[in-house]
């Protein structure tokens, strides 16, 4: 592959940093890492499920990030880099063993979504996410997901990270991100449809509607 001048300059900048960047490392940290604080705080709450634990985690994350700032590759995604530090810190501090849950193939999970949709249709719940305010129910369902699936859902669905960035944060292949994400979404939908049935949101006359007394 032949490099043109522009491409070569970009590559060199990626490796050695921009020669015209006169900011000190601390200033670059201020401009690139600190603006991610709200996102990291949100991610920390989703990991710990407790705000005061999350506060300690955020503090520790930024301290580690600051100490390792010279390792950050200029031009790469700072938010994903901080998420990875945050998660590693969390796993280390809580001494959590990452339990590996056998996971079905992502393709099968994707096809499984059709069955869930059919069941929602049967109960007249196909527009449940548009017609009803399910905010609290969704938050609770996410909190109750097994950690392996919750991690993928939080990063992709709540933090809007790409599959590749999520894979980098979690240290797993992209294919595993897909299967965990799709399974997580399926579990969420099952739990929310169940909630909707219990809450009497199913359309009268459908199989999921409460019996008239």
């Amino acid at each position: 592959m032949a490099w043109n001048k522009k491409g070569l300059t970009r590559l060199v900048q990626k490796i050695v940093g921009r020669p015209d960047d006169v900011r000190t490392p601390d200033e670059r940290f201020r401009d690139e890492a600190l603006p991610q604080l709200d996102a990291v705080a949100r991610y920390a709450v989703s990991l710990t499920r407790d705000e005061s634990d999350a506060d300690d985690l955020v503090q520790e994350t930024f301290l580690r990030a600051f100490r390792a700032w010279n390792q950050f590759i200029d031009g790469s995604d700072c938010r994903a880099w901080l998420f990875a530090i945050c998660r590693n810190t969390y796993l280390r501090s809580s001494k959590r063993e990452q339990r590996v849950i056998p996971c079905e193939d992502a393709e099968l999970e994707a096809l499984g979504a059709a069955a869930i949709h059919a069941s929602a249709q049967q109960d007249g719940l196909e527009d449940m996410f548009v017609r009803h305010d399910l905010l609290a129910a969704i938050q609770r369902a996410v909190d109750e997901l097994p950690e392996t699936f919750r991690e993928a859902v939080v990063l992709v669905d709540l933090e809007e990270q790409s599959y590749q960035h999520t894979a980098n944060v979690l240290g797993i292949p992209v294919g595993t991100v897909r299967s965990r994400l799709f399974r997580g979404r399926r579990l969420l939908q099952e739990s929310l449809i169940e909630y909707a049935r219990d809450a009497g949101l199913a359309k009268p006359g459908s199989s999921g509607a409460a019996e008239a007394s």
């Binding site: 000190t24 604080l37 709450v45 503090q59 600051f66 994707a110 979504a113 548009v130 709540l158 979404r185």
Partner: protein, 84 residues
């Protein structure tokens, strides 16, 4: 011909999440979109999943004391020598 083959329902269902997440190549994305707009079977499911993903994304919780946590982080960093 628009440079890609028409997909069948099964192929679209397999790629629906990737489509909603913006993870497909431009050609694949166009092929899925092309199928969805004409398919009475797939379109309702696309609608359902799309509404679900939007509701899920809207459910994220911000930290309730952002200013306080920012101050704490800055104090920790300054104690470590951060000067910007």
């Amino acid at each position: 011909m628009k440079g890609h083959d028409m997909l069948d329902c099964d192929a679209v269902m397999r790629q629906l999440w990737d489509y909603l997440d913006g993870e497909l190549t431009r050609d694949r994305e166009a092929a899925v979109r092309e199928h969805l707009v004409v398919c009475k079977r797939c379109y309702p499911q696309y609608n359902f999943e799309s509404a679900f993903v939007k509701a899920l994304s809207a459910s994220r919780r911000d930290h309730s004391r952002p200013a306080e946590i920012r101050e704490r982080v800055l104090a920790t960093l300054r104690a470590e020598g951060f000067a910007a």
